[in-house]
């Protein structure tokens, strides 16, 4: 690994090659994060970018950070994101259509100008001498960081500890829902249901027909139509109901065909699946 950190004002071709390849990917990932319709996709793109950044850290001799980046960011934080996406992601598919008047143009303008300025700034800053981390990492990168953290930055370190604790408590307070009344028993619930008069019997079970036991398959009502009630609300909202009634009816029809032909009898006209699914 020391080869990575060696470079002074220029880097090894290896690193250069690696940079040019990965940088492109990282940018693509970033764009993906911003532009993809579905939250999950942007989360994944972000994760990718982060991993690439981790590689860059390693490449620049920040071994500890590189690892932390992978473990903490990509491992923990992104997962946290995904959890929340699952919790919240019902409206995940949000249109990219702009509602605020002129917001997009402003955003484009500011972003562009900002970027240009930033790059210009870097450009005309004289940054060609790179000391490299050779002797800084001599005693080992982790030890070096540790020495700094526990000497020079110990105060800040303590503060961050406090910050983290506060954050945890804050998160708990925010998300914790205080239960104000006694948890209602089944009896009370049933009574309430009868009172309300809606859906007194239990909900129909999904996946009737032996060949289907998946929860995303709605059950069929006696008339052959499907009952969305039989599928969990989440799936319903996500529009992830797999409607199998048609093929089921098709199989049925085929079965009867076969039996008729075996019995040398004219089969009765099979109701078209469309009408059946009405």
């Amino acid at each position: 690994m020391s080869t990575f950190a060696a470079a002074a004002s220029t880097t090894s071709t290896g690193e250069a090659f690696q940079f040019w390849v990965l940088a492109v990917v990282a940018v693509l990932g970033a764009l993906g994060t911003v532009l993809s319709k579905k939250t999950v996709h942007s989360a994944l793109c972000l994760a990718g970018t982060m991993i690439i950044l981790a590689v860059f850290y390693l490449a620049q001799g920040a071994y500890f950070l590189g690892v932390v980046q992978i473990v903490v960011y990509t491992g923990a934080i992104m997962m946290l994101f995904l959890f929340v996406v699952m919790l919240v992601g019902i409206t995940a598919a949000d249109s990219l259509k702009e509602t605020l008047k002129g917001q997009r143009w402003l955003a484009a303008g500011c972003g562009l100008g900002f970027g240009i300025l930033l790059i210009a700034g870097i450009g005309n800053a004289s940054l060609d001498t790179f000391a490299g981390l050779g002797q800084a990492n001599a005693g080992g990168n982790v030890e070096g960081l540790a020495r700094l953290i526990f000497t020079k930055y110990v105060w800040a370190f303590e503060i961050t500890g406090a910050l983290l604790i506060t954050a945890v408590v804050g998160a708990m307070v925010l998300t914790h829902r205080e239960r104000t009344e006694e948890r209602s028993t089944q009896r009370e619930l049933s009574i309430a249901r009868v009172r309300a008069g809606t859906q007194v019997p239990p909900l129909p079970a999904p996946g009737v027909y032996a060949r289907h036991n998946a929860v995303d398959v709605p059950g069929l009502l006696p008339d052959g139509t499907t009952s969305d009630l039989s599928v969990s609300a989440t799936l319903r909202d996500r529009g992830q109901i797999r409607d199998v009634s048609n093929e089921a009816l098709a199989d049925l029809a085929e079965l009867e065909q076969r039996s008729e032909s075996w019995l040398e009898r004219s089969a009765p006209e099979v109701t078209a699946p469309e009408e059946a699914s009405k």
């Binding site: 972000l46 950070l65 934080i77 998300t175």
Partner: protein, 99 residues
């Protein structure tokens, strides 16, 4: 190659993130974009630390991560609560700051 390119990359990423913050309505994605910006900064820090040949830059980057973690925790919690209260994660729905 001159390592300055890392900085250019950082700038680019940062800008993309910023743009994302500006144009996306979904709070979660906005958040991710913020994370992206933070990461861009970290990259810059690491590059600087390499440039100066000492580890302070990395330390700062490290602190940034910690703070980012805390921020994400609280932020996501807020998003969840917001979603609970108004069944939407769109930042535009919360414009109570309007005069």
């Amino acid at each position: 190659m001159n390592p300055v390119n890392y900085l250019y990359l950082a700038a680019l990423l940062f800008t993309i993130g910023a743009a994302g913050v500006l144009i996306r309505r979904n709070a979660i994605i906005v958040f991710m974009c913020v994370e992206l910006m933070l990461n861009a900064c970290n990259l810059a820090f690491v590059t600087f630390s390499r440039m100066h040949g000492n580890l302070d830059g990395q330390i700062i980057a490290f602190f940034t991560m910690v703070v980012a973690a805390a921020e994400v925790v609280v932020g996501l919690a807020i998003i969840v609560t917001m979603f609970r209260s108004r069944h939407s994660a769109s930042v535009d729905d919360a414009n109570l700051m309007k005069l």
